[in-house]
């Protein structure tokens, strides 16, 4: 892994007034993304529009594909062609992408997908907010595999975390997701884009050894195999079938065990380096509010009110949702009276918190089907219930 400064061509240094969708496009350009394939879907389309407008001046490809299946698959091809590719989508498009998200994980292909979440299931609420794809992003494709998912809570973080998403994808050869939502995606705020030499960009771990010795799936010390790109003379093979270190298909239980465990271990064993969260007043907290995305912004009001009422409330905001900060939740479960988990779904991340708390502390959910954000009073009620 090599860290370099951002290519100035893609960086729009300065203070801007942008919505989250636009900030994702700028983050991608700053991170060195020069390939975007997508299909229009509300509320994510603005990212595609911004990218298609900007890329002719930077040098690269914007292509509107025939559907989301084609978009994600073109990304996998583009990544093996040496690009850092991205797409954006929302619920229905995300569902269409699932099979080939599995292919990207299986082929260990770096790429970035942003999901600007809207209300589901099915066509649901195209123009209104939701956070109900949080388990789908982790489990939506068939079989066992691991991915990385980040959750921005502001347009500024949409920029910052998109840069980070590309860096993680390149570091771990894995699909990385920006799980934002309609509110953050359409919210306009100040976004400061730093000068290129202050933006750190990770270069792919390219293999440079003898051509006939290259093994596309031989794990390096950090468990991440070296990569090459098509056209460099390695004559390599890769497949969605269960494969050995050569990338050749081998259809038996032994190689399946090696192959699947490798995909999972690569992320799990590196998770302390990947996981990021923000805590506030957590040391003496009786109750900890765990939230992410737009809901963490709404929770601020409830937490302030609870503190005014004399309740010791701490907050933990998930920046990385997957891999989940298991160890930290376990540790807190031994200290606090209860967790409160507000989210715009019927308890997806609450389920994960319950798993980690393992009965040591109760977990009070504040479910909401989406369409609008929580009433802070509902979160406040849950906090009060938690200390009772």
């Amino acid at each position: 892994m090599r860290k370099v400064k951002a290519d100035p061509k893609g960086v729009l240094t300065g203070a801007h007034y942008l919505d989250g969708d636009f900030a994702i496009a700028e983050g991608a350009l700053a991170a060195g993304c020069r390939f975007f394939a997508g299909y229009p879907i509300t509320p994510s389309t603005e990212t595609a529009e911004r990218f298609s407008e900007r890329i002719p001046y930077v040098g690269g490809i914007f292509i509107q594909m025939e559907d989301e299946i084609a978009s994600i698959t073109a990304l996998i091809g583009a990544s093996w062609g040496g690009q850092k590719p991205m797409t954006v989508t929302s619920g229905p498009g995300f569902s269409l992408m699932m099979e080939n998200i599995g292919l990207a994980a299986m082929m260990e292909t770096p790429l970035v997908i942003a999901n600007v979440q809207r209300g589901g299931p099915s066509t649901g609420l195209p123009t209104l907010v939701g956070q109900a794809d949080m388990l789908q992003v982790k489990f939506g494709s068939h079989g066992d595999y691991e991915i990385i998912a980040l959750c921005p809570d502001s347009p500024q973080e949409c920029f910052d975390l998109t840069v980070k998403a590309f860096n993680l994808a390149e570091t771990y050869r894995v699909p990385v997701f920006i799980m934002t939502d309609e509110c953050v995606g359409h919210m306009h705020e100040k976004v400061v884009i730093p000068p290129p030499d202050e933006i750190e960009v990770v270069e792919r771990k390219w293999y440079e050894g003898p051509k006939d010795k290259y093994l596309p799936y031989k794990p390096d010390k950090d468990l991440v195999p070296f990569m090459v790109k098509a056209g460099d003379g390695y004559r390599f093979h890769t497949t969605g079938l269960t494969h050995d270190e050569r990338g050749y298909p081998v259809i038996n239980a032994e190689v399946q065990d090696w192959c699947v465990n490798h995909l999972v271990d690569k992320i799990k064993k590196n998770s302390p380096k990947i996981i990021e969260y923000r805590e506030d007043q957590i040391d003496k907290a009786e109750v900890v509010v765990i939230s992410y995305g737009i809901t963490s912004r709404v929770a601020v009001k409830a937490v302030q009110d609870a503190r005014k009422a004399g309740i010791k409330v701490g907050t933990l905001r998930l920046v990385t949702v997957w891999p989940f900060p298991e160890a930290r939740i376990k540790e807190l479960a031994a200290k606090v009276k209860a967790f409160v988990v507000p989210e715009l779904n019927l308890g997806q991340i609450r389920r994960e918190v319950e798993r980690c708390a393992f009965g040591r502390a109760p977990v009070i959910g504040v479910p909401h089907c989406g369409g609008w954000v929580h009433d802070p009073d509902d979160i406040l009620k849950a906090i009060k219930e938690a200390v009772r």
């Binding site: 394939a37 594909m65 084609a70 091809g77 093979h237 969605g240 298909p249």
Partner: protein, 289 residues
Amino acid sequence: MNEEARQEEKNPMEDFLRMDRIPHIWCPGCGIGTVVTSFVEALKKSELDLKKLAVVSGIGCTGRVAGYVKFDSFHSTHGRAIPFATGLKLANPELKVVVFSGDGDIAGIGGNHLIHAARRNMDIVVICVNNFNYAMTGGQVAATTPRLANLSTAPYGNFEYSFSLPYLVDTCGATYVARWTSLHIRRVTKSIQEALAKKGFSFIEVITPCVTLYARRNRLGDGLNLLKYYYDKSEIRHGADTRTVDIDFQGKLIVGKFVDKEKPTFLECMNTHLQKTLGEKYMPYGVKP
């Protein structure tokens, strides 16, 4: 030839195949291997830099081609070889990208990608092996199955209309369209050679016998019989109007080079248009300085 000399002699395709993966999985009498041989022969005759060649397959019997050829080769998901190839080609326009897959993969589940790649005039070569059925899964009816043919999910005969692939891709804008049977070895080779030398969306359909399933269910004899049968039933008609090349069960097979024309590719259109619209501020893509 004595035994020693025989052992020393190299298989003429060795440099093009992953010999560590041979024997392949195809049935005796299957036509896919013959098409691969034609592909290799075409490569030998072409002046392509093989380092810059990538082969993409989908899923199915023909989908296994990517695993046997010794180039940068990608075995993608069912139906998605064309968008995979699109990403690869646009990511690195120096590559020559060949999609090698079956009729079910390219025209059935992947039909949407096929028509859009032809519409965009994406600069890729598609070799579509058409054996009239889904063979890897045991001989099910396909979008290309002629009416009346019997298959495991059309046990009383197929009553659906089928795609005529040359007509489909011609209508969508393909710049090179040919159809042969797998016994037209020299002609398949020549078509692949021409397609490789050409810019734009090229499509070559090769009718091949599926001995184990299609032939057996329809009592069409063994591999050799069926090869000869398709060959004998075929009539070469270069430049034929693709509206007239439908395939009937047991009927005539119109083969030949139907389309060979010039038209700017996706990348050429993009560069020309944006250059014209944006002037000097435009950063051309994939063009050598």
